[in-house]
Amino acid sequence: MIDVLYFAWIRERIGEPKEQVETTAATVADLVDELKTRSEAHALAFSDMSAIRVAVDQDLTEMTAPLNGVREVAFFPPMTGG
C-alpha cells in the first residue's frame, strides 16, 4: 500500500488530498499510468505531465524513480514558495 498525496490544483481536480493505492508499479511513471485509469478526474489531472512534479517519501525526484519500499508518493505543480 502506498499513500498517494495531491497538492494545489492537482488535489482540486482529483477531489481528494490523499488516497491509498494497492500497486505493483515499478516506477512513478507506471503508477501514474495506473492512477489515470481510476477516473476521468485522474486522467484529466495527469494529462500534462510537464506541469507535474513528484516527491517520493518526501524527497523531490523524477518520474522514472523506482517505487520498491516506498510509502508515500506526492504529486504537485511546480512549487511557488518564498
Partner: protein, 146 residues
C-alpha cells in the same frame, strides 16, 4: 529554531533583533522578507498550501546547503502557510556571517531555492476569482547560477 513553518504571523522586527543578538562574531546580517503584494487593490487574499513533513525537510536541507557552502555564523528561515492578506509577511530568511558577501550570497541562494524547491503553493483570490500562482521560468533559471 533555525527553520519554522507556521500559520501564525511572525514579528519581523523581533525576529531580526533576536537573530542579530544571537550571532556571535558576525560582522554582517542580511534579511529578506516576502510580503503579499496588494497588486493595486486587485488582490483580496492569498492562501498558501504546503506539504507538512516534506516542507520542514526541504527547508532544513536548503539551510544546511547554505551553511555548508558559505562561511556563515547562522541562518534561519520562517515560512507561513494558510490564509494571508495583502501587506502581510509570507516568510523571511536571515543570514549572519563575518563578511557581507557571504551573508548576501547565502540569503539569495536560500531565496532562490525556497522559490522552486520548497513545497509551497500560492493561490490568489482577486477580482477574477481564484488563481494558482504559476511558477516562473526565471525562478527555475535562477538556480543555475549556484
Amino acid at each position: 529554531m533555525s527553520v519554522r513553518v507556521q500559520s501564525a504571523p511572525f514579528d519581523m522586527g523581533a525576529e531580526v533583533a533576536a537573530f542579530t543578538a544571537s550571532a556571535p562574531g558576525a560582522g554582517a546580517v542580511v534579511t529578506f522578507s516576502g510580503l503579499v503584494r496588494d497588486e493595486g487593490g486587485s488582490l483580496s487574499a492569498m492562501e498558501i498550501e504546503h506539504y507538512p513533513g516534506m516542507t520542514e525537510r526541504a527547508l532544513e536541507k536548503i539551510r544546511a546547503e547554505a551553511v555548508g557552502r558559505w562561511s556563515l555564523t547562522d541562518a534561519m528561515v520562517i515560512h507561513r502557510y494558510g490564509p494571508l492578506k495583502p501587506g502581510e509577511q509570507i516568510m523571511m530568511v536571515a543570514t549572519a556571517a563575518r563578511h557581507r558577501k557571504d551573508a548576501f550570497d547565502a540569503a539569495e541562494f536560500l531565496m532562490d531555492y525556497l522559490k522552486s524547491r520548497a513545497p509551497f503553493w500560492k493561490k490568489e483570490f482577486g477580482a477574477d476569482g481564484e488563481t494558482w500562482v504559476a511558477a516562473k521560468d526565471d525562478d527555475e533559471a535562477a538556480l543555475e547560477r549556484w
